[in-house]
């Protein structure tokens, strides 16, 4: 380290590979002193003249602004303001062609100077050493200073670098041919530049400041050396004239023998580079309080009458510069902003100069070589010999032409600084830099696309995973729930059984209570408690997703229990036929259901002559007009006892008919249902005096194809009683036919329900005793039944039809009818 410092102080300059010696052409413009242009008619101040975000507009159209008044304020990261270059009126704020190779329109403030050139109040600082770090940074930031060498990097960001800076390098090399802006600046304003350097020293506290100047500027070197005499930490280093020694990386190599890492910035190796012009602007901002509103521009080329350097206000149209210096265009004139190596041609001269505009070059056809046709590459590698980054331009060119982006990156395309040395020396006149620029853009686009695609894939994968997870969860839920529920229900069933047993012990042994509980939309809990034996059914039921459906089944099962309850060993037989029609074609379904209920009693009747055969036809129509339907259903239920009592004087035959019509045409359907229910007892009565034959036909049609399902259900119910009755002539034979038509698998469902019947029969004996206590809600009905049970101790068959409805008129009607 000390050795390096020693070497630098001794004046050692290292070399970078490659480099070229294009004709200098500097004497064209560096002999005269800097002149000041007359005020232009119009100033086009682009809001963005640097790398980073635009500032926020502070002015409006029509507003009068003073010279140096900020037009924007910093809004985001790396955002620096622009200022009014002269006093005048903002005539427009509109997108204007920008100082960029594309000349793409950039939002600009257009000011018409009033000619007074009146400054805003300037905040001068005589002694910047008294200012704090943050104050200085703020001044530099608010003055709108950005790198004036070319890239336009916001200077306040660099000046506020947190990394330790060992060497502050001042780039006064100006290696591009023709340009002499920094040269004349140093000649005339060396003191100010040194003051700018000292401000940077104050901010960054570097070990050493090295000013690199090419040896073709002896006057500038002398002036700078003189101005820096008092400061031992500033070294004016003369570097050989070789293009591109003014490239930041090349200059660092030249002055310190260090290399900026490929993916890195100079600050990473303790170095910071500032342009001479930038430091002058810093000095102006700090000492004079002047924001960056003007700069030196070299106007040169053989078509310019008075080539030289001018102080130009930012936003001055290039045309104004050319006109003021005298300009005789040649055919196919080109105007270059910047130097001949890295500058770009302009599509129009109606573009305002910006903070980075150091030169306007208007050459004729002799001084700069006319580009010839591109010829075949002979792999002479003159380009590689000229490349200051030690790239292999020739190989890069082949890869760029064949779009081998991987190879391009492997050959470090992105380390190309686009200095143009390769293209300059190419004997085949291949526009190498152009190929690299295109390739770089394409690679960047490709990378952007790849990032996009990766994100999309990520999102897609995440979504897929989520869907799979959800599906799995759903499946798990289905698996778990039935098990839990069945366990739960088993317990409940056991409890119910226990209760029933207790009650049967307590109560009258022979009393048979037939309770037909028709619940309309009752609470689920209660319904479940009432279920004596339905675990099997419950399991099936649990499989249903919709609670409504589940609930309906529960209701039907309570019906079954109610139906089975009245079944006494000797006495009453209750036939409950529950027909559910859930179809949309409820009308048709109901018709079928009615027929079923009609048929069942008739078939059951002949079986039993002593005991009452109760055929309960429960037709459920689940309609939207359920309320109305239920009222009617209640009526029918309440009517049933009345019809039952006369039918059987000794044995009560209770027919509980619960007809639910859920159809839209429920009214009509229910009427018919009622009729069937009322008919049923009449036919039942004569049938059985001793043994009750209970035919329970539960036909459930839950399908949309209810019609078909119901037909099957009917068949089942009609067949079962017939088969059941012969089995038991004394004891009650309970035939419970539960026909379930589950929409799609109706046939199978029916088989299942048939299997459950034996179980129901087993608990039948116990059921009647519990019927009374369980049917609290339907006390009215039970009251009606009780006398009958008293009358006949042995053969009493009580048919209790408990219909619960949510309708408020249920009880009232029930009372009336009882």
């Amino acid at each position: 380290m000390d050795k390096l410092l020693e070497q630098i102080k001794k004046g050692t300059v290292w070399a970078f590979p490659g480099g070229i010696h294009p004709p200098q052409q500097k004497s064209l413009s560096n002999s005269a002193s800097i002149t000041r242009l007359p005020l232009p008619d119009k100033l086009i101040v682009a809001l963005k003249q640097h790398i980073g975000a635009n500032g926020k507009l502070l002015v409006e159209k029509g507003q009068y602004v003073l010279k140096g008044q900020p037009l924007t304020e910093p809004a985001a990261n790396w955002s620096v303001p622009v200022h009014a270059p002269s006093s005048g009126v903002v005539t427009d704020i509109a997108p204007m062609p920008s100082a960029h190779p594309s000349a793409l329109p950039e939002l600009s403030v257009i000011i018409e100077p009033d000619g007074k050139d009146e400054w805003v109040a300037l905040n001068k600082n005589k002694n910047p050493a008294e200012l704090s770090h943050d104050e200085l940074i703020n001044i530099i930031h608010q003055a709108g200073i950005s790198g004036m060498g070319g890239a336009g990097f916001p200077t306040y960001v660099k000046a506020d670098t947190k990394q330790p800076i060992e060497f502050l390098i001042v780039n006064a090399v100006e290696c591009e041919p023709y340009i002499t802006a920094d040269d004349v600046l140093m000649r005339e304003h060396a003191k100010e530049v040194i003051q700018g350097i000292e401000i940077m020293q104050q901010l960054l506290n570097p070990t050493l400041c090295i000013v690199g100047i090419e040896d073709n500027k002896p006057e500038a070197i002398a002036a700078m050396k003189q101005a820096a005499e008092h400061n031992s930490k500033i070294i004016i280093q003369t570097v050989p004239t070789i293009y591109p020694s003014g490239g930041e990386k090349q200059l660092i190599k030249l002055l310190t023998n260090r290399e900026v890492p490929s993916i890195g910035i100079p600050a990473d190796i303790g170095i910071l580079v500032h342009n001479t012009g930038t430091l002058f602007a810093v000095q102006q901002a700090v000492y004079e309080g002047k924001p960056l509103i003007e700069r030196i521009v070299t106007v040169t080329g053989n078509t310019i009458h008075k080539p030289g350097n001018v102080w130009a206000l930012l936003g001055t149209e290039i045309k104004h510069l050319l006109d003021c210096q005298g300009f005789s265009p040649v055919p196919q004139q080109s105007v270059v902003m910047g130097g001949p190596m890295m500058g770009f041609t302009l599509p129009t001269v109606r573009i305002g100069i910006v903070k980075t505009t150091n030169c306007i070059l208007a050459p004729d056809h002799k001084e700069l070589a006319e580009p010839g046709p591109e010829k075949a590459c002979i792999r002479c590698s003159a380009c590689a010999d000229a490349c200051p980054a030690s790239l292999l331009p020739q190989q890069l060119q082949w890869f760029a032409k064949s779009k081998e982006y991987d190879k391009l990156q492997e050959h470090n395309l992105f380390d190309c600084i686009e200095c143009g040395a390769c293209a300059y020396v190419c004997p085949s006149e291949i526009p190498l830099v152009q190929y690299y620029r295109i390739a770089k853009v394409e690679i960047k686009e490709q990378q952007a696309d790849k990032i996009k695609a990766d994100r999309a894939k990520e999102r897609f994968d995440a979504r897929k995973e989520r869907l799979e997870r959800e599906q799995e969860e759903r499946q798990n839920r289905h698996k778990r729930k039935p098990a839990a529920k069945s366990a739960d229900e088993k317990q409940k069933v056991a409890e119910a059984l226990a209760r029933v047993k207790n009650k049967s012990d307590n109560g009258d042994e022979k009393s048979a209570v037939a309770a037909a509980i028709a619940r309309a939309k009752a609470k689920k809990q209660q319904g479940e408690e009432l279920e004596p034996d339905n675990s099997e059914v419950a399991k099936e039921r649990a499989l249903r997703k919709e609670q409504a459906r589940k609930y309906k089944e529960q209701k039907s099962q309570t019906d079954e229990s109610a139906e089975t309850a009245p079944v006494d060993d000797k006495k009453s037989a209750v036939a409950a036929a529950i027909a559910r029609a859930k179809a949309k074609k409820a009308a048709q379904a109901l018709d079928n259901a009615e027929q079923a209920t009609n048929e069942e009693p008739q078939s059951a009747a002949p079986v039993d002559d002593k005991k009452a055969a109760v055929a309960a036809a429960i037709a459920r129509a689940k309609a939207k007009k359920a309320a109305k339907a239920l009222e009617e259903a209640e009526q029918t239920v309440s009517e049933a006892p009345q019809s039952d009592t006369p039918a059987d004087d000794k044995k009560a035959a209770v027919a509980a008919a619960i007809a639910r019509a859920k159809a839209k045409k429920a009214a009509k359907a229910l009427e018919e249902a009622e009729q069937t229910v009322s008919e049923a007892p009449q036919t039942d009565a004569p049938v059985d005096d001793k043994k009750a034959a209970v035919a329970a036909a539960i036909a459930r049609a839950k399908a949309k194809k209810a019609a078909k399902a119901l037909e099957e259900a009917e068949q089942a119910t009609s067949e079962e009683p017939q088969s059941d009755t012969p089995v038991d002539d004394k004891k009650a034979a309970v035939a419970a036919a539960i026909a379930r038509a589950k929409a799609k698998k109706a046939a199978k469902a029916l088989e299942d329900t048939e299997q459950t019947q034996p179980q129901e029969l087993q608990v039948d004996s116990a059921a009647p005793k519990s019927a009374e206590s369980n049917t609290d809600d339907s006390s009215v009905l039970i009251n009606a039944d009780k006398p009958k049970s008293a009358d006949d101790k042995k053969k009493a068959a009580v048919a209790a039809a408990i219909a619960r409805a949510k309708a408020k008129k249920l009880q009232k009607e029930g009372n009336n009818q009882s």
């Binding site: 590979p17 294009p22 004709p23 070589a369 030690s390 470090n412 293209a423 020396v425």
Partner: protein
């Protein structure tokens, strides 16, 4: 005002392909003069023949390829090939030898591979090898220096020999080649090789009249002529020093080692450097940019490999000279050499 737009850089070094090629051709002149001086004007006839032939073939193939003729022809690369080929073949070889050579080099080796810049092999050397393998008799029928020829022949006779195989007085090429002692004379390289094979020492072999004290009569001067031209190319920065230097140094070192190891059967460094096509190979053949290595490190390896191969073939191989074979063989290795000799790019792995 309409402005012309262009991509940077807006200036150019004024180097051009044509100028480059013509400079190389110009650099051949010293060698050519030496060849004419020592071996007669036949080489000029061959040169004209070759230039006409390549122009015709290049134009024809460009027409067939539906490409503009003049830009291809005017880049001078075909003419350079013609010059190198004409300087490589025996001056009095029949006319069809050079024509076949030109046809092969331009049409097959260069244009069928895609034209200038795309050929894997040095066109002149590929053609030379084709001719040598196909027509060994004609391709080895070198004349001794004019002084040693029994009956010196004039320009007209040489012309007749090239086109009709006989001089005006009815002598065939073989008769013309017979020396004063009536024996057909081979090139110095060939002579030494044959003599060593016959058990003679190098010293004994070099007692023969075709030799001066260090190398073959005339051949040494031809080589020095090419060396001069090569130095001009280096000076004019048309070629880089890497290939010729590594080429010559390797050949010199190898032959020196050989001479030290076996002085009786090894002709020594100077003989190797000034015999055959050594200098032409080092400065004009191996440096052909299209088929040579392109990185500086790679060029050093490339040149060294050629030098080594030349020594090995000359000493142990079946052919007296080995420039063409060595160059072609190492041409094949160029992509590999280039790949593994990429320079360290700025900012990559630098020592801090």
């Amino acid at each position: 005002m309409k402005l012309t737009m262009a991509s940077s850089p807006h200036n150019h070094s004024h180097k051009s392909l044509t100028r480059l090629m013509l400079s190389v051709i110009a650099a051949c002149i010293p060698g050519l003069i030496a060849q004419v001086f020592f071996f007669g004007t036949g080489v000029l006839i061959q040169l004209v023949l070759a230039l006409v032939a390549v122009s015709v073939f290049e134009a024809a193939i460009m027409l067939i390829r539906k490409r503009p003729v003049w830009p291809a022809l005017s880049d001078g690369s075909a003419w350079l090939t013609a010059v190198l080929l004409a300087l490589s073949i025996p001056p009095l070889a029949p006319w069809w030898i050079i024509v076949i050579g030109c046809l092969f080099s331009i049409v097959i080796v260069k244009q069928l591979y895609g034209g200038l810049g795309f050929n894997l092999f040095n066109p002149a050397m590929a053609a030379y090898v084709l001719l040598l393998v196909s027509f060994p008799v004609q391709m080895t029928a070198w004349l001794p220096v004019t002084d040693l020829i029994n009956t010196p022949i004039g320009f007209a006779d040489q012309l007749r020999l090239i086109f009709t195989d006989f001089t005006a007085s009815g002598f065939s090429l073989d008769q013309v080649r017979a020396g004063v002692d009536g024996l057909t004379m081979a090139t110095p390289l060939d002579t030494v090789k044959t003599d060593i094979a016959h058990g003679l020492t190098v010293t004994e072999s070099m007692q023969k009249p075709i030799f001066n004290e260090w190398a073959g009569l005339g051949w040494a001067w031809v080589n020095l002529g090419f060396l001069a031209g090569g130095l001009y190319l280096l000076k004019a920065k048309i070629i880089n020093w890497h290939i010729p230097v590594s080429f010559i140094v390797t050949l010199a070192v190898c032959s020196a080692i050989g001479y030290i190891a076996s002085p009786g059967t090894e002709p020594g460094t100077l003989f190797h450097l000034l015999s055959g096509a050594t200098m032409m190979g080092a400065f004009f053949i191996a440096t052909d940019p299209v088929s040579a290595a392109t990185t500086n490190k790679g060029r050093l390896i490339y040149g060294a490999l050629i030098g080594l191969l030349i020594y090995l073939i000359r000493t142990f191989g079946g052919f007296p000279d080995a420039i063409a074979f060595s160059v072609l063989l190492i041409n094949i290795a160029v992509p590999l050499i280039d790949y593994y000799t990429q320079p360290r790019t700025y900012g990559h792995g630098a020592v801090k």
